[in-house]
């Protein structure tokens, strides 16, 4: 009975509802975008009313928010942090830099397309995106979670070899532990 398809649907609905309204964000402040997080969280825009709240460590976080350009050196840490997060987990790419390189399109040490290395669920474009845009990004993520479509983590597991190949191209000296999901 508990494995019945309909009851599973109900459980999924409730769980997704909870996940949707409780988003603990690990803000990885890589670039200039980190400056947009404080206004988003504090009294002007107050993201906490949507259930969005900062998490201190990757073990507790649901969303990895990558705010800005990623150098090759930082990418290693970001991948590490992402792999330490517990399922279900989502990634938000924030700002033009994560989408197409932005103003760092010709830099010798920043990656340009984040979704080749990590499964991005939602992109927020803009340079910088205003807090309204950030909130709308979260709203979009909530929508995806509610529909069960925010399955980046699953994509990462399924295509781990492809992602690893891309990552190792940037990071030749690979010392990280195995990904245990």
């Amino acid at each position: 009975m508990i494995n019945d398809k309909n009851s599973q649907k109900i459980v999924d609905f409730i769980q997704n509802w909870a996940r949707k309204h409780s988003i603990w964000v690990l803000a990885y402040g890589t670039g200039c975008g980190a400056i947009e997080i404080p206004p988003t969280m504090t009294s002007r825009y107050d993201a906490e009313r949507l259930g969005v709240r900062g998490a201190a460590t990757p073990r507790q976080a649901d969303v990895l928010l990558i705010t800005g350009y990623l150098t090759t050196k930082t990418l290693k840490r970001v991948i590490r942090v992402y792999e330490q997060m517990q399922d279900p987990k989502y990634v938000i790419g924030f700002g033009s830099c994560t989408i197409n390189g932005g103003m760092y399109y010709d830099s010798y040490n920043t990656i340009k397309v984040l979704d080749k290395y990590l499964p991005v669920d939602v992109y927020i474009n803009g340079c910088m995106p205003r807090p309204e845009a950030v909130l709308s990004g979260f709203a979009k993520l909530q929508e995806l979670i509610a529909q069960g479509k925010a399955n980046g983590a699953q994509k990462y597991k399924d295509n781990l070899d492809w992602y690893r190949e891309n990552q190792k191209k940037i990071i030749p000296n690979w010392v990280m532990p195995e990904y245990n999901w």
């Binding site: 309204h21 009294s43 107050d46 259930g51 709240r53 201190a56 073990r59 507790q60």
Partner: protein
């Protein structure tokens, strides 16, 4: 009536009540903090959603057997406190193990959890956890002094170490202990600020310094257990204060009002305070709170 199953049912019911009330209070405190900061704030049931989300996390990691024991130790501490502290005045409901309620025993069972949790945090190997634990234990040494002074003052004044007896004294005389031993109340309330670990005493899990300290390697089910334990423990502590100083409560509504009033003290003190350093926090507790504790003992001895 005395069957073991009935008792177990009582434990489960009081656990659920404590969990619900504790979670709601924590949600309300978030709401109140938000309103003080001129924000809208999350809904008051936000903590339930968070707990559900943590419970529905599908994967987890552990660093060894002590990490499983840590949350269990915490739970032992909070549930045992809940069982020993009488919830209501009339012994009919929620009388789990109240008749063994002894203040000294309670003091030790209340530190049981943090110590067990410290072991669990230690095994993760995260330096932040260990730093958080040392801060927490140091702070505990700080606030236990005024807290014990207040309790010893009560023991001296009323010649009992039983919480039930203290409640009965208040019911019989009609005077709350907050009026008959005010200094003890002040010392106990100041110690409570440290016990609840809101600002400025949130040095243990300071998210920006220590990445939430002892909890930093715990996610999903571990964090869920700790969060439930914290809410149960908060309820138990608030009930203890109501029992000791505000004359207990004869029904749940009265209990809720009184505990909420008590709960507002650390919350409202917290929202306007920045964070102390560890030694400042310890010295704070050994300053005025200890002075009031001494006053309470003198008052109890001479009056």
């Amino acid at each position: 009536m005395d069957s073991i199953w009935f008792k177990l049912l009582g434990v489960v019911v009081s656990f659920i009540v404590a969990f619900t009330v504790g979670m709601t209070y924590m949600g309300l405190s978030r709401k109140i903090t938000a309103r003080v900061q001129n924000r809208k704030g999350p809904p008051f049931y936000q903590n339930f959603i968070d707990a559900m989300k943590l419970g529905s996390k599908t994967s987890a990691i552990h660093h060894g057997v002590m990490q499983h024991f840590g949350p269990a130790f915490l739970m032992v501490s909070s549930v045992m406190s809940l069982m020993i502290i009488p919830v209501l005045n009339n012994g009919m409901w929620f009388s789990n193990l109240n008749f063994h309620g002894d203040l000294i025993f309670l003091l030790y069972i209340m530190v049981f959890g943090p110590l067990g949790m410290a072991l669990g945090a230690g095994q993760t190997g995260n330096p932040n956890s260990a730093i958080g634990v040392t801060r927490g234990l140091s702070q505990m040494v700080g606030f236990e002094i005024p807290w014990v002074m207040a309790l010893v003052a009560l023991m001296i004044q009323y010649h009992t170490t039983s919480i039930v007896d203290l409640m009965n004294i208040q019911v019989e005389s009609g005077t709350w202990l907050i009026f008959s031993s005010p200094f003890a109340f002040i010392a106990a309330v100041l110690a409570m600020l440290g016990m609840f670990r809101y600002s400025p005493f949130d040095i243990v899990g300071a998210p920006t310094e220590l990445a939430s300290g002892p909890m930093s390697e715990n996610g999903g089910k571990y964090l869920f257990t700790m969060m439930s334990s914290a809410s149960v423990f908060a309820f138990a502590k608030l009930t203890l204060y109501v029992d000791l100083f505000l004359g207990g409560a004869s029904n749940l509504i009265e209990l809720l009002i009184k505990t909420f009033v008590i709960y507002m003290i650390p919350v409202l003190y917290g929202v306007v305070s920045p964070r102390y350093r560890t030694e400042q926090s310890i010295r704070y507790f050994w300053g005025w709170p200890t002075f009031f504790g001494l006053l309470a003992i003198l008052y109890a001895v001479f009056f």
